[in-house]
Amino acid sequence: MVEAVAVASGKGGTGKTTATLALGMALAERYDVTVVDADTGMANLLFHAGLADAPVTLHDLLLDDADVAVDDAVYHRFGMDVVPCGTSLDAFREADPTRLRDVVAELARDTDVLLLDSPAALGSVSAVLPVVLADRVVVVLQPTVPALSDGLKVQEYARSYGTDGAGVLFNKVHDGDSVERIADRTERYFDGPVLASVPDADAAREARDAGEPLLAYAPASAAAEAFREAAAGIEIRDEPAEDVAARFRSAVVPEQP
């Protein structure tokens, strides 16, 4: 079985990468999880996962003349398989985002859950492709008007491409925020439940600086607990891996200009 879930936000700074790795670690207690940094233009998952020096990354797999195997870019860390992306702008320019489809198809053959850390934008093919390819999307929101507004946009893009909602995750929530009061209305407009409300935490920033996912760095923190609660709310659907891999391979992806 395998399901591809895009973790998206539509707005930078919502803590999407922290959330992706936290959900990945929590889901890894029940499933085989592979986390992919699909934010190929603004990659930062490598820093969160202690993979800043990874010799092979997703960028290498997206090159037209790629001479590395997908497995070469997969690192087993913190109980998950992690596929980081490089930060070189040149590599990003040379990378063919549409090859992500084949990479995802190959990864899908050997995992239960594929988490795609998606770009915080919708302005290009490479930015929108993770949402197009995924089965479902988790939208990471801060309880602010701009974040909700941009999150709604992501949600509508996902719907347009037939990608279901797995729920929304309020992140970086401050004491005075009114998440409890707005949860019902949020669920009215977003697909899936409000999975959790994750408090803003210094631990998240410290974890990033330490090159560790939050759940490894501060497993007992309130934020880590909230992420585990969110992961518990995501039931992974059972679909044969081969069917999913075949679907990714046949996914419509345009030729690059």
Partner: protein, 184 residues
């Protein structure tokens, strides 16, 4: 809302109008801002929010597309950035002729809160506002709750996003991946 013709003194494109609001406040600007989502600038839509400013403090808001005033006019452009933000100067006495009505009035900090999510700027604006402007009941109490309660506004954002997704899909040659193809 009928406004006297103003002189264009500042024109910028920005993801949020925070800079323009801060500039107006710091410059004690009197006149109006025309805030137009970039999508509307490119298209032929009539989709701008006009915000009058007196001595740096926002007073009246009107949306030229929905013809709504006050907080709903702000909601009609909230989150629709990037914006083209044009600042016009108007003689103080001319602006005084524009009628303040409850339907058009916004609380002084509301534009900074709702359009730029900048509570510090909102607070600075409230401090600079005449007492009688801030004495009005703050509406809405919580901008996020008010946003989620504005069904018309949320539906408009979703409609716009849906149209944009389809338009971009055509641009990117992704129409076959759309759930219902491309009927347009």
């Amino acid at each position: 809302m009928r406004l006297p013709r103003g002189d264009l003194v500042r024109s910028r494109t920005a993801t949020a109008p925070g800079d323009a609001l801060a500039w107006a406040l710091d410059a004690d600007h009197t006149g109006y801002l025309v805030l137009e989502p970039a999508d509307a600038v490119l298209g032929d839509g009539d989709d701008a929010c006009v915000l009058t400013i007196a001595d740096g403090v926002p007073r009246l808001a009107y949306h030229t597309g929905t013809e709504r005033g006050g907080a709903p006019a702000l909601a009609d452009v909230a989150g629709a950035g990037p914006y083209s933000v044009d600042c016009y100067a108007v003689d103080r006495s001319a602006l005084a002729d524009v009628t303040d009505t409850d339907e058009l009035t916004v609380s002084p900090g509301a534009p900074a809160e709702r359009l730029a999510a900048d509570s510090a700027l909102a607070e600075r604006t409230r401090v600079a506002a005449p007492d009688e402007w801030t004495a009005e009941p703050a509406s809405p109490a919580d901008p996020v709750e008010a946003f989620l309660a504005d069904e018309e506004r949320l539906d408009a954002i979703r409609d716009r996003a849906r149209e944009e997704a389809r338009r971009k899909a055509r641009e990117w040659d992704l129409t076959d991946a759309l759930v219902d193809g491309d009927e347009n």
